[in-house]
């Protein structure tokens, strides 16, 4: 597979380490009333779609960027690649 890195262009998937669903960005608030339940869902409940899937890849053999890659799990077609940091900020994560 080739991942079209938003900064570096197409790079072989062999340079990357796969982690899983990009929902891992949305880490719950530890002080929420139902934090334990939220963290349990965050850690263990994952979609397993046949088709489009947003997932996290780490460019370990490159610039050490975490990427959010939108990939079709059936055809492997990749339709979008973004820096995870940009996605995280867009989804409201800060510090």
């Amino acid at each position: 597979m080739m991942i079209d890195h938003p900064i570096l262009g197409p790079r072989d998937a062999g340079e990357f380490v796969y982690m899983g669903c990009a929902s891992l960005i949305n880490r719950p608030d530890w002080q929420a009333e139902d934090a334990l339940q939220q963290f349990t869902d965050y850690g263990y409940q994952r979609d397993n779609p046949s088709g489009g899937h947003r997932e996290l890849w780490f460019h370990e053999g490159g610039d050490r960027s975490w990427l959010v890659v939108t990939r079709d799990t059936v055809t492997h077609a990749i339709t979008q690649v973004e820096l995870a940091r940009d996605v995280a900020r867009r989804e409201g994560r800060s510090k």
């Binding site: 960005i25 995280a88 994560r93």
Partner: protein, 984 residues
């Protein structure tokens, strides 16, 4: 006389003669020959025995689709089984042997299988060797393996090497026939980066095998000129002897270049083969087509081959398989073979054409509407029997028979991404379907354009379209004049009512076997394949699949497209495993990491151990020490008595800087770091988000906004990745910068009561180095040895007064020598990883065995470290009920009741008197060693309720190794439980 079947002309170099041996007999051929063409020139048609019935077989094809003529090539360690004689390039001194025969190819004892064939029909093994099951491994399988099978391996290490490589191009052209050449010329002239790959050693495809003129010259001359033009273009890479093995995701192709297979031995330091990964923007499949046979009674005798292959031998290699040749065809193409044979003066005894309306021949007889009903000749064809349209029988004498059932486009690569081919009734063949791999186009015969004219035009047109996509302008095509005859073909797959009409000659599958499979309700074509083995093995059914499908369709009353094809998968042709290994074998299997003191340790005679990729000194034997324990015990005792030095560079080191560095560490460690003063180091435990311990180490605060974090050796890479995840994905607005500095610093542990005295001699005088000035857990940036920058940490893994000192790695070698010199007066010892392990077990420090992916902070005895006042990775889920039960596993120590007994790691713990089973398991031992300080074996591990059971005598069991004795539950801190030494 040698080479009795050699004709005039051809693309061989008659100025040189090559000697070779086949089954011990000497022969001669010429450069340009394959092993098969050279053997045929010498009137050798019999080249192998079949897989199952040991039937005599000769070459059926002139290419990589060959099912029969497979041999063991070369001898000794280079012996390679299952090599196709039809593609093996002849070289001087080549040695080949036939396979699957004993004692000889002409007389094969297991030929008896052929007489027993009624018992060996499809599914025979499945049905027969079912029972008793225990006989399978010992009796049936070895017996079957001896009787059936292909070549044998050398059982010696491969003396050759294989490279891997990476290529980039705008356009990959797969196949160097007329379509591929036209496309490559077009794209090359337009300036695109082009790779043109062909499995053959001479590009040109069928242009080399046919007599058609191209642009007024012989086809192969035009091809050679085209290749020469391409070779002159700097943007074009022409790769002969290169097979495209597979089409992978996103334009990535696998290719195998046979760099040295045509040489007796590769040149010095040169690889035998290179496995290329080709990154392409576009690919054009121009892989041509493969002729398919017609099945009829005894259609497998040596001398019976595909009609197009006969043309290849006659025209390209100037060889006729026999002096009298007959043709069996369902299309006009077969007539071409007869014409070409006649042109070279070979006698054509008859053309049997299944079509009643077949065209007339020139100077040869055509039996219109005829079929072949049988053949004769035990070790080679001597004649055929034909039934004429009016029902009459004819016996025709011939030494070779060319068979043509039409041509199948080579669609395999179009299906590697899950696509399925589509049926084209005009040529009665499958052509590429609509779902091609992204950015792949197909041209020429591979796309069903079966004429030379069609190949040139579709190839050039496909290239033009690709150039448009690339934004390159192409000059108007200037394509050569070439043959454009119509494809006249009436589908005909097999002669009915044959007893043994071979469909798949490599797997000895007959038309009857296919029918039997249908009778037994194997409906899916994939099941047909597995049940009959049709289409398996080295040729993957390239010549047999179509007939199998057609017969299946016929007996099932379906159309061929309704039956469909089996899935095509990479590799396209068989590939040596060595090519996939590349250079990563033996001692080069993976890179080695050496510590900064490696050279010095080697001088000291250290014994090394692999820790991940690292080579670390395991112990340092002294003269006279004969057992490793002697060395390790000495290193431990001397360190605890005086002082020892150990290279600990392998621990991961990560530089963490930024205004939010302390907050960041608060998130990744379960314990707090915000209040750690500058100049101090703290132990940190890192949890996974699920609350399980991930790694541990220390963080030293060098400045308000600057920490150095250490990780365990094994987890350095994973922890860095995790920290980048936390930084980029979870807290993207933290001001934190990370970089690994593991290799930048050579770090040595100096441990033991005399550690301070030793280091005082090394650390420069202007640093307060007293116990008060530099207490336990202090850290500082200092200078040593008169001004070299260094880092000093007062941390202890051994439990002794200990420091870790780091200097720039280039000075690591000098530093350990300096430490040993300075420590001479204290009888300093270097110690290795074994002594390091013993001392940490004696001290009860957790390591990888305890942080084993199942344990929590609570299990490790650090439950209270998990701060509830802040957010950290894993803190919430570590509060889960199931991880916090009253009798949770806790880290404790164990001593044997009988002090002579060991406490092996991995042993399980059982309450005295209870049953020994999983339900009564009380825990397990994780780390164990012989403690020279306690004079007995000790262990640490996890026990339900932990310290509450201190003093209890408990059973240590290991049913696997027969261990069953008693140990006492004690504190895991065997040495200095109060920690007085390390604060001394």
């Amino acid at each position: 006389m040698t080479q009795t079947n050699r004709l005039q002309g051809g693309m061989i170099d008659r100025s040189r003669t090559l000697s070779f041996r086949f089954d011990g007999k000497a022969f001669q051929g010429h450069p340009g020959d394959t092993l098969a063409s050279a053997l045929l020139a010498n009137d050798v048609r019999l080249m192998g025995r079949s897989f199952k019935y040991h039937r005599p077989r000769g070459p059926m094809t002139a290419g990589s689709e060959e099912p029969n003529a497979i041999v063991e090539l070369r001898t000794g360690a280079r012996q390679e089984p299952n090599t196709r004689a039809t593609t093996a390039e002849l070289f001087d001194g080549l040695v080949a042997n036939s396979q699957n025969r004993w004692p000889s190819l002409r007389f094969d004892a297991l030929g008896v299988n052929d007489w027993l064939s009624p018992f060996f029909a499809a599914g025979f093994y499945y049905k027969t060797f079912m029972w008793p099951a225990k006989f399978w491994e010992k009796l049936y399988e070895p017996m079957i393996r001896r009787a059936a099978g292909l070549g044998s391996v050398s059982f010696e290490p491969d003396p050759d090497s294989y490279d891997k490589g990476f290529l980039h191009c705008d356009l990959l052209v797969i196949g160097g026939g007329p379509a591929g050449l036209a496309a490559a010329l077009r794209a090359g002239e337009a300036g695109a980066r082009v790779i043109l790959a062909d499995e053959d050693f001479t590009l040109g495809g069928r242009l080399n095998a046919e007599t058609h003129e191209v642009a007024g010259m012989a086809g192969h001359v035009w091809a050679a000129q085209a290749v020469a033009r391409l070779a002159d273009m700097p943007n074009v890479r022409v790769m002969p002897r290169t097979t495209i093995l597979g089409a992978f995701d996103h334009g990535t192709y696998g290719a195998l270049e046979r760099v040295s297979d045509h040489l007796a031995v590769p040149e010095k330091d040169k690889p035998r083969q290179i496995l290329w990964r080709i990154y392409s923007k576009h690919a054009l499949l121009a892989a041509g087509a493969t002729e398919r046979p017609i099945a009829f009674e005894n259609n497998d005798r040596p001398g019976i081959m595909l009609a197009g292959a006969v043309r290849s031998y006659v025209n390209r290699w100037a060889v006729t398989p026999a002096r009298d040749v007959a043709i069996f065809t369902n299309n006009d193409d077969g007539h071409r073979t007869a014409t070409d044979l006649r042109a070279k003066g070979v006698n054509v005894t008859a053309v049997i054409d299944t079509r009643p309306d077949a065209p007339d021949g020139g100077d040869f007889e055509v039996i219109k509407g005829g079929v072949i009903t049988n053949t004769s000749g035990r070790l080679g064809l001597t004649g055929i029997e034909a039934r004429t349209a009016d029902g009459g029988q004819r016996r025709i004498s011939c030494g070779a028979l060319g068979v043509s059932g039409g041509w199948n486009p080579n669609v395999a690569l179009t299906c590697h991404q899950g696509g399925r081919p589509a049926w084209n009734a005009d040529i009665a063949a499958f052509v590429p379907g609509s779902a091609l791999p992204p950015n792949m186009s197909v041209a020429g015969a591979a796309n069903g354009a079966l004429t030379t004219h069609g190949a040139f035009h579709t190839g050039a047109e496909a290239a033009s379209q690709i150039l448009d996509h690339l934004g390159l302008s192409a000059p108007a095509p200037d394509l050569p004049e070439a043959e454009d005859g119509p494809v006249n073909l009436t589908p005909f797959w097999h002669v009915k009512d044959a007893k043994r009409a071979w469909v798949d000659q490599q797997n000895d599958v007959t038309a009857k076997d296919v029918k039997l499979a249908h009778q037994e309700n194997f409906v899916s074509v994939e099941h047909l394949k597995r049940y009959t083995t049709l289409g398996m093995a080295t040729d993957q059914g390239k010549t047999s699949n179509m007939a199998g499908l057609a017969i299946m369709a016929e007996v099932a009353g379906k159309s061929i497209p309704e039956v469909g094809t089996t899935m095509f998968r990479p590799p396209y042709t068989p590939t040596a495993i060595g090519a996939f290994a590349g250079r990563s074998r033996d001692k080069d299997f993976r890179p080695v990491r050496k510590t900064p003191s490696h050279v010095w340790a080697e001088e000291k005679g250290a014994v090394f151990v692999e820790v991940g990729m690292w080579l670390r000194a395991q112990w340092f034997p002294l003269p006279g020490e004969t057992h490793w324990r002697e060395s390790v015990d000495r290193e431990v005792l001397q360190t605890r008595k005086s002082v020892g030095v150990c290279d600990v560079t392998t621990l991961g080191k990560i530089d963490v800087q930024g205004a939010d560095a302390a907050d960041f560490l608060n998130r990744i460690y379960c314990n707090g770091f915000a209040k750690l003063p500058v100049g101090k180091t703290r132990y940190g435990l890192m949890l996974r988000e699920d609350g399980i311990a991930m790694d541990d180490g220390t963080a030293a605060r060098l400045a308000d906004d600057h920490f150095v974090v250490t990780t365990t050796t094994a987890n350095a890479v994973g922890v860095y990745r995790h920290m980048e995840f936390v930084r980029q994905c979870l807290f993207p607005d933290m001001d934190v910068q990370l970089i690994s500095t593991t290799e930048a610093w050579a770090q040595f542990a100096v441990a033991g009561p005399n550690a301070r005295k030793l280091l005082r001699k090394v650390v420069d005088d202007d640093y307060d180095f007293s116990n008060e000035g530099f207490p336990f857990m202090a850290c500082a940036e200092i200078t040593v040895c008169g001004g070299l920058r260094a880092r000093l940490f007062r941390i202890s893994f051994s439990g002794e007064l200990a420091y870790e000192i780091a200097v720039p790695t280039r000075y690591g070698d000098a530093m350990i020598r300096k430490l040993m010199e300075a420590g001479e007066e204290f009888d300093v010892v270097p110690y290795g990883t074994e002594a390091l392990g013993v001392m940490r077990i004696e001290k009860g420090h957790a390591a990888g065995n305890e942080l084993n992916g199942t344990t929590t902070a609570l299990n490790l005895g650090m439950g209270r470290m998990v701060s509830k006042k802040k957010d950290s990775i894993g803190s919430t889920l570590s509060e889960r009920e199931g991880l916090n039960e009253d009798d949770a596993l806790k880290l404790v120590g164990f001593k044997p009741v009988d002090s002579s007994k060991p406490v092996p790691a991995g042993s399980h713990l059982m309450t005295k008197g209870s049953q020994v089973d999983a339900a009564h398991d009380q825990g397990y031992v994780t780390s164990a060693c012989y403690s020279p300080n306690l004079g007995c074996h000790i262990g640490i591990g996890f026990l339900k309720s932990g310290h509450a059971r201190s003093g209890e005598i408990i059973r240590l069991v290991s049913p696997l190794t027969g261990i069953d004795h008693e140990v006492e539950v004690v504190s895991a801190h065997f040495v200095d439980p109060e920690g007085e030494r390390l604060r001394a």
